[in-house]
């Protein structure tokens, strides 16, 4: 047994203007999960400590919270893996959400983005018209299993640095769940789904891998890349900066072996998009004033033919 101090964020939106913190001591084995430590604190010390929980075994996705600055499921986090040197654990509500009461947050923005996906199967015909069950081969199903494991705990959403400054971004979970239907062979709304998730800023993912801490190994960062690839393959939103950026980067690598910065900027913003170019002009001018401009033209790397051979051998034509 060990004495562990839980340093807990306390706030009640009904009565408090500002949050405060309580330090609660519990005597428990060090290998106890943070969730069980909280349960002990609630049962033995202060019944008003409020948090969401249900299954206690990383299936329901209710108990995600910020534990010593790291967001994750309390039921999957043993105390001894996070204990500070002074024997304390600091517990806060998930970031990127408005706190409601103590560790409970308003989940609405997360659910809104999820509902927008129409997170249910939309086959070509109705179930009434369909005579047999809709069968899926094991290989086709394998592609969906990881994404379908999502328990919507919102850990990835809370960790996402883009969401933290721009709530318009769909966030990792919604895109991973969009993937689950986009890649489902039974679903007939692939293009509509792709257009929808592109409208919800699919390409605003900053490739930061913060969502690689998904407790269910959905690997949202990989699913986001999968949805981008499908977007390009299906030629959805090809006039928008995201797909244009992907294509122009490939084009310059194919031509020069390098990511040619000048052409990539022009190609993404649009050479004739005068408004867009004016918008990025101030930074360009500041850089030019410092002599910090990428070259206008790049000489191809030695043996550039080899790079072109790689592209020709592996490219899936997107025209």
């Amino acid at each position: 047994m060990a004495q562990i101090t839980l340093d807990i964020f306390r706030f009640d939106q009904a009565t408090d203007e500002v949050p405060h913190r309580d330090r609660v001591n519990v005597d428990i084995p060090e290998t106890t999960t943070v969730l069980d430590a909280l349960e002990t604190a609630k049962a033995d010390v202060d019944g008003s400590i409020t948090f969401r929980r249900s299954c206690r075994s990383a299936i329901c996705g209710s108990c995600s919270m910020n534990i010593n600055g790291v967001t994750g499921l309390a039921c999957k986090t043993p105390c001894n893996t996070v204990l500070r040197e002074d024997g304390s654990i600091h517990i806060d509500p998930m970031p990127n959400f408005q706190p409601m009461k103590d560790l409970v947050v308003h989940m609405d923005p997360f659910w809104d983005k999820y509902t927008r996906l129409k997170p249910y199967l939309q086959p070509a015909d109705s179930d009434e018209e369909h005579e047999r069950e809709r069968r899926v081969s094991p290989d086709d199903m394998k592609k969906l299993v990881e994404a379908a494991n999502c328990v919507m705990c919102a850990t990835c959403y809370a960790l996402c640095p883009v969401v933290s400054v721009d709530p318009a971004f769909a966030g990792p979970a919604a895109i991973a769940y969009a993937y689950r239907f986009i890649e489902d062979v039974r679903d007939a709304k692939t293009k509509e789904r792709l257009a929808q998730i592109n409208d919800d800023y699919l390409w605003l993912c900053a490739h930061c891998y913060a969502c690689s801490y998904c407790p269910k190994h959905v690997e949202p960062h990989d699913r986001i890349v999968d949805v981008k690839r499908r977007t390009v393959k299906e030629r959805v939103h090809m006039d928008k900066p995201g797909p244009r950026h992907a294509l122009v980067v490939n084009k310059t690598i194919r031509q020069t072996g390098m990511l040619a910065e000048t052409e990539v900027i022009q190609g993404t913003v649009g050479r004739f998009n005068i408004r867009g170019l004016i918008k990025i002009a101030p930074l360009g001018l500041r850089m030019a004033a410092k002599g910090k401009m990428p070259p206008l033209f790049l000489r191809p790397i030695p043996k550039i033919d080899e790079v072109r051979t790689i592209y020709e051998s592996l490219e899936v034509p997107v025209s």
């Binding site: 600055g69 913060a210 900027i265 918008k279 910090k292 070259p295 043996k303 790689i310 592996l314 490219e315």
Partner: protein, 294 residues
């Protein structure tokens, strides 16, 4: 003199030439030889993945084949994004015979072959693993006199941990160790492992700038005087967008150093050779204030 294969990456050859130059000056001081893989292509920069994972992997396999042919299996990068994506491609190749032979089938068309022997590391890790912090400390001729430096890692040198794994992605300390070895004081702040927003600058500039502002605000409030990053993409973002983020996050104006610039400076390379005049937020002012340069 120990020799390494050197993969500078696109940005160090284009808009951050000062990074390339200061890396070569630092290598000279350290007594190591960085042999540039001049025929190497872009690593894919996480964008080639967005259209075709196989092309990204095989472009890197081609680079590794070149390194092996030159006997330079130890490949050093100076960019967090290059590090992460080259290591990811290497991991995929080394862990699957199927992927390796598929890659070699393409490389074979121009007589190249990758045998899986390359290791990709960032210069930051070389400083600690091969030079050693004690040796580095002993080489310092111009200690930073407690200059308060905020480390900024850049996502792809730490995450995902399964690809990088050199240190904990949640609580890394390599930059702090180097900062302290060269006489600076490392600032501990929540932004150090967060994203600079570089990859979405062209998608939604305001959002990208805000990610810079948010992190720099925390660093500034914790007392940082300058920022140090091992990634030129982070450098472009942090150096370029603090001005744009000021409306939302307040003025921060933290000068940002490339890792080799600040280390080379402490090791006695003249400041005038480090390209500090190329930065949008001029770092020379704080160096003068702290009496580190005249």
């Amino acid at each position: 003199m120990k020799k390494y294969g050197f993969f500078p990456g696109c940005v160090a050859k284009e808009s951050c030439k000062e990074l390339f130059n200061s890396t070569m000056l630092l290598a000279d001081r350290l007594g190591i030889e960085l042999i540039e893989l001049t025929a190497a292509s872009c690593c894919g920069a996480s964008v080639v993945n967005d259209t075709n994972r196989d092309i990204a992997r095989v472009l890197n396999a081609r680079t590794y084949a070149q390194a092996e042919a030159l006997g330079l299996d130890d490949v050093i990068t100076i960019c967090s994004t290059c590090t992460g994506h080259m290591r990811a491609a290497n991991k995929e190749l080394r862990e699957s015979e199927e992927r390796m032979s598929a890659a070699n089938a393409v490389l074979g068309k121009f007589g190249a072959k990758y045998n899986g022997g390359v290791i990709v590391r960032h210069l930051l890790w070389l400083l600690i693993d091969d030079i050693g912090l004690d040796t580095l400390r002993s080489m310092v001729v111009r200690p930073l006199n407690g200059l308060r430096v905020a480390p900024f890692y850049g996502c792809h040198i730490i995450r995902p941990e399964s690809v990088n794994g050199w240190e904990s992605a949640r609580n890394p300390h390599s930059l702090e160790d180097v900062i302290e070895a060269i006489g600076g004081e490392a600032i501990d702040y929540a932004g150090k492992t967060r994203c600079c927003g570089f990859h979405i600058q062209l998608e939604k500039e305001g959002t990208a700038a805000s990610m810079v502002g948010q992190n720099m605000r925390i660093a500034k409030d914790k007392g940082a005087e300058v920022v140090l990053t091992p990634c030129p993409l982070c450098h472009l973002a942090l150096d370029g967008y603090q001005a744009d983020a000021a409306a939302r996050w307040g003025r921060t104006d933290l000068p940002t150093f490339h890792l080799p610039q600040l280390v080379a400076f402490a090791l006695g390379v003249p400041a005038a050779k480090l390209g500090l005049n190329k930065h949008l937020i001029d770092p020379r002012r704080i160096l003068t204030e702290r009496e580190l340069i005249a």
